[in-house]
Amino acid sequence: MHNALIESHDSQEAAREQQSSRPTSVARTYFRILWSNRKSRAGLIMFGAFIFLCIFGRALAPYSPTYSGFATMAGPSWQHWLGTNQDGQDVLSQLLAGTRVSVLVSLSTGFIATFIAVLIGLLAGYSSGFTDDALSFLTNVFLVLPALPLLIVLASYAPGKGSVLIVLIVGLTGWPWGARVLRAQVQSLRTRDYVVAAKLAGDSTLRILFREIFPNMLSLVMAGFLGAAQYGLITSVGLEFLGLGNPNQISWGSMLYWAQNASALLQGQWAWILAPGLFIALFGMSMVLINFGFDQISNPRLGGTEE
């Protein structure tokens, strides 16, 4: 009789465990953690909104962003919520339409920088001796080189100015921080027993890198991506503001460039400068906020105490 009781208990437990034994994907786990953190949830919502604007911004714009038939330098009104610029174009429409270029520039610089960072981080961290020394040295050199003056010099020599150039040079200089963090992580992961075990199990180095090591640093990679994207956003906007981008392409940076050239503030058209700046800050902030969640995944101690 006792045994029957135990068995029934055991089988219940087995059934319960069976239900929960479906392997949950890493992506879903990540999303659950990000969503449970109040800060990163807010970040995700904001980030989603900007992706939406990136796709549908042009369609949502009340007017054509290039139509220049309105009164010039008009302050905010019901017709033009954010007023108009010195060419008589609607600022709100420009802002919404410019989201696409700015968001794409930010994300693609983040992507390029992260790609290089992962490549160099994995290679330097997993190899030892000369390869590691050389790559770490390269990383440290680029880490210390201040990128903006370099970019300014490069961009001012370059014959064609445009966002592709900016993406390339910001992306190609934005990787060292990520590479350094990832290298340290790979170095700590490669000595884990499960990596040794995978070697003993006959797995190839490539398989070990991508099935054993890489998944365990995904949160760092994502955090690095968002950090690099935010860096790309700020840097590209700075270059555009200096007139080193393509001023005829509508983006948040070029709007600020024209607004400053037209002394928008001193003429009272503050919305023309406030709005793009706010969008830049909100998009950047969304990535910083999401990173609070990724920080928590990489380092559980940072997790909140509310359960």
Partner: protein, 355 residues
Amino acid sequence: MNHGRRALFGVTSGESERDGSCMKYFLKRVLLLIATLWVAITLNFLIPRMMPGNPGQAVIAKFAGEGHPLTPSALKAIDAMLGLSHASLPVQYWQYLGEVVHLNFGVSYSYFPYTVTELIAKALPWTLGLVGVSTVISFFVGTGLGVLVAWRRNQATDGILTSIAAFTGAFPYFWFALAAVYVLGFLLNWFPLSGGYEVGAIPHLSWGFILDVIHHAILPAVTVVVSSIGGWLIGMRNNMINTLGEDYVLLARAKGLSNRWIATMYAARNAILPNITGFGMALGFVVAGSLLTEVVFGYPGMGNLLYNAVINEDYPLMQGIFLVIVFCVIMANFLVDLLYVFIDPRVRERRGSGA
């Protein structure tokens, strides 16, 4: 002390190991310093030569167009910096290094007849002052606030300050500068709109002039501080939360030490170490940001000079400024790395270890 006994406790070898690691650390930093400088100098050499067109010729043509006579030495400097002659690259490189060593960057086109070196010498102190002061303020205040919010973790202070930091940190520096100029300068008229000192004043050492300089520097400095403080705060907060979870902090609590002592000597002293390692990148950021801030304020520093060089396509000036900014950032990094030795005993040589 008895040598054998020390050996028994593994002291002797430990000491030599420590000396070795400290020396190694120092050598590594010096090597990195030299290599970074070399990379920067070489980049500066290669960029104009790898660009399509011929920047050197363009500059000469511009000088000719303006009717400025170029001395042979100025011509030589332009040649060395931008690559004019058809000499082979190694020869050009050698000439270039010679000019760089003698701080001879040629003549500015936009500020003729000033040499690049003269212009930089005039602008550099302004930028060093602005960036130096605002970086020190934002590092200390930001780190201090980071300690505070980590200590009051999950309380209102933490939530509010951290969110504000995430928000302000996301703004481009120059946008804050624009807003500050508009509100505090233009609307309220509390601060001058631009410049480093009163227009028409001649820089000299007097209380009146110094006060004038400070009055002009407040807004640019505040915008740099406001935009860079968030990064320090968030970085320090994360490190602090980590160290607060360490056993030695728990033990400090068990020892009944005061909160202030635990927060500073136990948690913050350890939490600040990674923040200092991250100084390099942060510094590059602050310098970049302050360059743009200078443009908005028309501040007479390197940023403004660089901006003018860019819009006037004054390549010799641009190259010189680039090199000097990079040099300053690299040197600052080097000094911070050396400072690290004094803060972390694990890299430090033990005092009085002679025996």
